[in-house]
Every structure is written in structure tokens, then in C-alpha cells.
């Protein structure tokens, strides 16, 4: 890994996308924001997956991020994106820090199911709370940017640029983390926990840290999506949302920090087109695509790009 050019490549791709933004139809910008922001959630799953863990409950933090933004507006009148994202990250991180003490002791399916249980508990709470909008959720206004309040079209483009900046920062930070000693513990834990313990590292603490990182990424992703969509509802924390993230994570592969974003963009595009052209059978199209991918690209889409990709 002497000369890893992932980050410059990501930066280049994002800058091109940002420059192209004003010239493409607004629905493209919208799909861009949503898919890239969901890519952030998947990036968190990648960190966990390298450790051998799959969380079926990332939707919990995704929704927490969204609701943090929504409630900050509703009760505090805050619409600023910077405040929104920081708030979402703090809320998601804090909740994950607390739940992490329990979850860090679990592996495999039990980790997946316990995280799912937490997400579903939030779902139950949100659906039953009239003050939080119940099943309908509530709307969030067009965001402002450090005091600037542009019109809706411009705001979407600015939000895209902001999302791109968040992603670049997240990729850089995650890349740095994964190439640090603590980050290299990921695959080590996946391969053999007990040896990691013998080396003098706490497996529990390592997993706890990664869980919090994944939650923060998911929270920021949820905040960005809800700002772009302008609406939040309990569906954000339902298990199908979480399943979708896992779906994209495995479809993308875990070889590179860029993979989740490529996977996420392709997934959103496939879904949009499938919904448009075969509204009754878009699940089927997705399912068939997933099956084919698993059969012919076992290491995810990313194996198309990098031959040298590090694979377990």
C-alpha cells in the first residue's frame, strides 16, 4: 500500500460531479445526494464487515440522524446544514457509545439480530409517538448554509457539494483509521479473536470503537438524506432499510473505501429505473441482479475495478 491513490481519485470524481451539478436535471442531483449519503452508511458497514460483523440495525443511526435534524428544526428552529450534521453525528455517536457496551460482546447472527432489535424498538417508539409525527413523520424545510438561505434549486446543488465534502472527509478519515494499528485489528479480529487478545489488544474495545464509527457515519448519512428529501418518517429505521444497506455493502465489496459509494450510486440508479419501468416487479429485478452479482462477482462490484484489491 505504498502509493494509495484512492483518496485523490475520490476527490477528483467528486469535484467533477460537483462541477457537473448545475448542468444536469435536478432529479439527478437529488439521486446523487441520496445515494452518496446512503453510501456513508454503507462505509460504516464496511468497517464493521471487515471485522466480520454485520449490523442489521444501521437504520437505527440513519433514522436517529434524520430525526435529530428534524427535531432540531421543530423545537429549535435550526436549519443550518453544518449544525444539522454535527448534531446528527453527536446523537448517533452517543447512542452507539452506550449500546456498544452491550453489543461489543456479540458476534455473528446475534450481533446482527441484537442491533436489529434496537432499530425495531426505535421504530415502535416513533410509530406510537404522536409528538414525533407517528407513522407519517414530518417535513423538514430547505436547509440553510451558514446563514445563506438560497432557493430550493440552488440549495440542492449546495447540499450536493456539502455531501461531497462530507464524503471526502469521511473517506479520508476512514482510510487513515483502517491503515492505523487499531484499524488493522479489523481483519485480525475477523480471522482470530483469541490471538488478538494474546497480542495484548482488547477485542471488545476495538469492536466498540468500530461500532461507534459506523454509527456516526450512518447518522451523518441519515441527516443528509433527510435534508435532501425534506421529510422523515419511521420507515427510516425499519428493518428493510437496514437490509438495503447490508445489501449494498455486500454488493459493493469491502476492498476499498470508495466501493460503498460506487455500489450505492449504482443501486439507487438501478432501483429508480426498475421502479420506473417495471413498477410491479422492481423487487424481482433487484433480487435477480443481486443473485447474479453474488454468483459472478463474489467479491463485490469493486473487483471489476481493482485487480490488486485486498480481499480477505
Amino acid at each position: 500500500m505504498a502509493a494509495d491513490r484512492t483518496i485523490p481519485y475520490i476527490a477528483g470524481a467528486l469535484i467533477v460531479a460537483c462541477v457537473a451539478c448545475p448542468f444536469v436535471p435536478s432529479w439527478v442531483v437529488f439521486i446523487g445526494i441520496v445515494s452518496l449519503a446512503k453510501g456513508l452508511v454503507v462505509l460504516g458497514l464496511l468497517v464493521l464487515w471487515r471485522t466480520g460483523l454485520v449490523s442489521f440495525g444501521q437504520s437505527l443511526y440513519y433514522a436517529l440522524g434524520g430525526y435529530a435534524v428534524g427535531l432540531a428544526y421543530r423545537y429549535g428552529g435550526l436549519t443550518d446544514v453544518f449544525v444539522a450534521v454535527i448534531l446528527a453525528a453527536v446523537v448517533a455517536g452517543a447512542v452507539a457509545f452506550v449500546l456498544g457496551f452491550l453489543l461489543a460482546g456479540y458476534r455473528d447472527l446475534f450481533f446482527a439480530m441484537l442491533s436489529l432489535a434496537f432499530a425495531m424498538i426505535l421504530y415502535g417508539v416513533l410509530v406510537k409517538s404522536e409528538s414525533l409525527g407517528s407513522t407519517d413523520g414530518f417535513t423538514i424545510p430547505v436547509p440553510t448554509f451558514a446563514g445563506l438561505g438560497p432557493g430550493e434549486e440552488i440549495a440542492q446543488i449546495m447540499l450536493f457539494v456539502f455531501t461531497a465534502a462530507c464524503i471526502l472527509a469521511a473517506c479520508y478519515a476512514t482510510q487513515r483509521y483502517l491503515s492505523s494499528t487499531a484499524g488493522h485489528l479489523t481483519t485480525a479480529i475477523r480471522d482470530n479473536e483469541i490471538r488478538v487478545e494474546y497480542l495484548g489488544y482488547s477485542v471488545k474495545r476495538a469492536i466498540h470503537t468500530k461500532y461507534v464509527i459506523a454509527a456516526i457515519l450512518a447518522g451523518v448519512g441519515g441527516a443528509l438524506v433527510s435534508l435532501s428529501v425534506g421529510h422523515i418518517d419511521p420507515e427510516m429505521t425499519y428493518w428493510t432499510t437496514a437490509g438495503e444497506f447490508v445489501f449494498v455493502a455486500i454488493l459493493s465489496g469491502s476492498a476499498s473505501v470508495a466501493a460503498p459509494f460506487v455500489g450505492s450510486v449504482l443501486f439507487e440508479l438501478t432501483r429508480s429505473y426498475a421502479m420506473q419501468y417495471t413498477p410491479l416487479t422492481w423487487h424481482m429485478v433487484l433480487g435477480a441482479a443481486l443473485l447474479l452479482l453474488i454468483m459472478f462477482l463474489p467479491n463485490g462490484l469493486w473487483s471489476l475495478f481493482g485487480k490488486s484489491a485486498r480481499v480477505q
Binding site: V54, L102, G105, Y106, D108, L109, F110, M113, L114, L116, A117, F118, M120, I121, Y123, G124, V125, V127, K128, N192, I194, R195, W239, T240, G243, V246, F247, I250, L280, T281, W282, H283, M284, L286, G287, A288, L290, L291, I294, P298
Partner: protein
Amino acid sequence: MLTFVAIIVDALVYASWLFLVAVGLTLILGVMRVLNVAHGGFYSFGAYTAAWAIGVYFERGLPDAGSFLVLAAAAIAVGLTLGVLIERGLLRWMYDRDEVVIALITYAVFLILEDAVLLIWGVNPFFAYQPSTLLGNTDIATLPFPNYDLALVGLAVLIGGILWWALSFTRRGKFLLAVIHDREMSVFLGINVSRLFTITFIIGAILGALGGAVTAPIISVTPGIGVEVIVLAFAVVVIGGMGSIAGAAVGSLLVGLAHSAAVHLFPQIELFMIYLVMSLVLAFRPRGLFSQAQMRRI
């Protein structure tokens, strides 16, 4: 007192339903170590086939009592077809993959089955209330309970009993227990694990479809009924300990009690009661109630 009776009976009924829905999943998970998301697809296929077959059956004006056979036949037909198709056609090529990837494959199958249901039966709801109304009600402490619901309790006990007997006292069943315990060793001892996998998957699929078929008369069969059932069944299986039939039974009872108490006493928390129970059980028994000790790999 009335509330108490209502809670207990509702709990039994709900627990039986959960057990019927979850037992196929736990069987497949225990034997094959496959987290079968497609189970939700078997459930909805079973429900739709049953509802449709009941409709056709009563249109012909055939004897009422036979409708219960129709339910069972629908479940067996669906389970047999889908089970053979999916296990022989797809899953058996995938057993060397990671468990999570196999779960994802079954998720893909689930997505396909969901839309297959839409393509075959359309988006309009189906009603097959006849078998349920046919049986009438019974009063327990002045509260009327549908006999059909009470029959579900009997069915759950029957299915649980048959499975327990088959696993403990038949040759094949003992083979299955051996495979659950140690798959590699079973292969060395000459057990045809591949054939057992096929049989297990088919039985699991039939049980999943049966769960749907017996539910069809008490709900309106609409698209998307499988989605919720998957997570409920997962929760029951995880609470009980993966692959344990007794665990699934106890897990269902626990969740049934908690759920029905919540419905009658604290309706606000009813929606997530099952997940609360699951979190609590896992917090104290990290691998479920009836879990075996795990060896540590060094």
C-alpha cells in the same frame, strides 16, 4: 380476572402462531446454518395459495370440512415446489460461501418471491374467512374466543410434538441431530448430509408455507405480509437459541405472553414488545435460551 383470562388465552394463541411461523426457520438454521430470509416468501406464498384454493373450493360448493385439508394441501404443494426448486436449483451450489452471503442469497430469493406473488395473484386482497367462521366460538369465562384460534394452539402442539418425536426417536432424526452438533464429523461417519439438507429445507419450506396457510383465514391476504413475519420469526429463533425446537417453543411462549400482556395493559409498547424481550434475553443469555456451549478456536 377477565383481563387475566384474555391475556393468557391470547398469549397462547399468539405463541402458537409464532411457533408455527418460526419452527421451519429454526429447523433450517439449526441443520444447515442458513439464515433463510426466503422464509417470509414461503409464508406469503402459502397464505396466497391457501386463500386462493379456499376461494375456488367454496365456489364449487364442496363439503365445508374439507377446507382444512385444502389448507394443508396448499402448504405441502407450495413447500415442496419452492423447497426443491430453491435448494436443488440454487442453494446447494452456495454452501461454501460465507453465512452472511448465503443469507443475502435467500434475501434475493425473498425479493423475487414477493414480486412473484404480485404477478400471480395481483395486488387485490384475498379473503378466506370460511374455515375460521365455520368453527364458531367458545366462551371461556364469558369471553368468546374463535375456535379456529384455539385450534391453532392444538396444531402448534401437534407439529412441535411430531418434530420432537421425529428428531428424538427416528433414525433420520438422530442423523439430523448429529449434523446439527457437528457437520464434518457426521460426514465422516457416513451420513449423507447433502440429502439431509434437501429434506430439511423442504420440510422447513412446508412449515413456512403452513404458517402462511393457517394464517390466511384470519387475516386479509395482501401484498407484503411476508416482510413483518420474517423479523418476528427471526426474533423467536434468536430468543430460543438457534436451531432448537424446544427453544422456539419457549421463545414463542415468552414473546406471546409479553405481547399479549402489552396489548391488554400497555398498548403503547405493543409494537416493539418482541424486540424488547429479545434484547433482554440476549443481554442475559447472549446466545439465546437453549444454546449449546461453543468451542473457542485458538
